[in-house]
Symmetry: C2
Subunit: 217 residues, 2 copies
């Protein structure tokens, strides 16, 4: 423990260039988009030269992939878990979640002047048609979000707030779809109030889950 405070075998001259690149890529790509942000701008924002970027990552796509992993981890820890587990009852949890998203969008707009919408949904739309690697990675993160939604719904079923035969898997996916749509609209408006205005739709969708018509086949 008296040795220098570097647990890793590398020397790491000064500040971690890799982390700086990931942070810069996150701020810029989330604030704008994948194709609107160039390698040069990411490097400048991170205070790192291009050669270092290509030492740590094979290219822009790999950097973005790593950035998305870190972004999802933070989103899960800072928004998903506290926003969903904080309140009691399904209705209250939905409202808490909507307000957490609203707060995030409003803060981003205050900081950068732009309302970004959902970073994962944005990338899914942007790269869905011409970058299968990124598309699949994003799809995986969206699935992880759906799993969190589902556990909330399962709890609501156990507490008797939803019918026992509720298809929580399907409903969780619908929840995510509506959330993504709300954020598309908010981005089109560039107004965080749109999140609050459309939020009640989530309550309608989630508390009236199976349309009384049994699934005809």
């Amino acid at each position: 423990m008296t040795s220098p405070p570097a647990p890793t075998p590398t020397h790491r001259a000064r500040g971690d260039s890799r982390d700086a690149l990931l942070t810069a890529a996150r701020e810029l790509i989330v604030g704008r988009s994948y194709s609107a942000v160039g390698i040069a701008e990411i490097c400048a924002h991170a205070g790192v030269r291009k050669g270092s970027l290509y030492h740590f990552f094979p290219g822009k796509e790999a950097l973005t992939l790593a950035m998305l992993d870190a972004l999802y981890a933070d989103f899960e820890r800072e928004v998903l878990i506290p926003g969903l587990a904080g309140a009691n009852g399904l209705h209250a949890r939905i409202e808490a979640f909507v307000h957490a998203i609203h707060a995030f969008e409003a803060r981003m707009q205050a900081e950068s002047g732009q309302l970004p919408g959902c970073p994962f949904g944005n990338l899914a739309v942007e790269m869905g048609t011409h970058n299968p690697t990124l598309r699949r990675a994003i799809r995986g993160h969206l699935d992880a979000v759906t799993a969190h939604f589902r556990s909330v719904l399962d709890e609501a079923v156990q507490d008797g707030e939803l019918p026992g035969d509720t298809n929580t898997e399907a409903l969780a996916e619908q929840w995510l779809a509506l959330m993504e749509g709300i954020l598309v609209m908010a981005k089109a408006d560039q107004d965080p109030a749109t999140v609050l205005r459309l939020g009640p739709a989530l309550v309608t969708l989630l508390t009236h889950s199976p349309p009384e018509v049994p699934h005809e086949r």
Copy 2:
């Protein structure tokens, strides 16, 4: 009628270059995205030289604006009106609309190999944060779609299918948001079946409109 079939006063040597440019821009930009398609590619696809493009349009943005106007007009005539007015009853109309959207996405994927999602939603997401002109134009088209949804809901209220105090304006906006979200998910999946899988959420949302809780204030 023995004169050449050109009713307009201009000479128009051969095929309309302007229309060819609009068609090419539509096919390419809808199939991929604004920034992924270049001027050169649009011109090549239209069989027109770059100089002609800049004769008819001041630039890429103006071309896209005109393309979006034509695209919305066609969408309204070919999908929105027949898809919504074809059936009787709200439930049937929703299902007909979902199937119309599914058919469009499946056809696009069969033709171009890519499932595009909603062209307007895509552009809203792509340009929302850094092209206010395009953003506002798209927002206008989305409003026009909402107006169509609302008239369907108003009819349902008049027919007694929805409560008389239904806020059809708010509900129409929620309808659009959910539809956009469904198309984001379908694009992330690159699978038109996602439209059908999530379609029932529209029925839930639209036939249970105001959560029985009166709007607390």
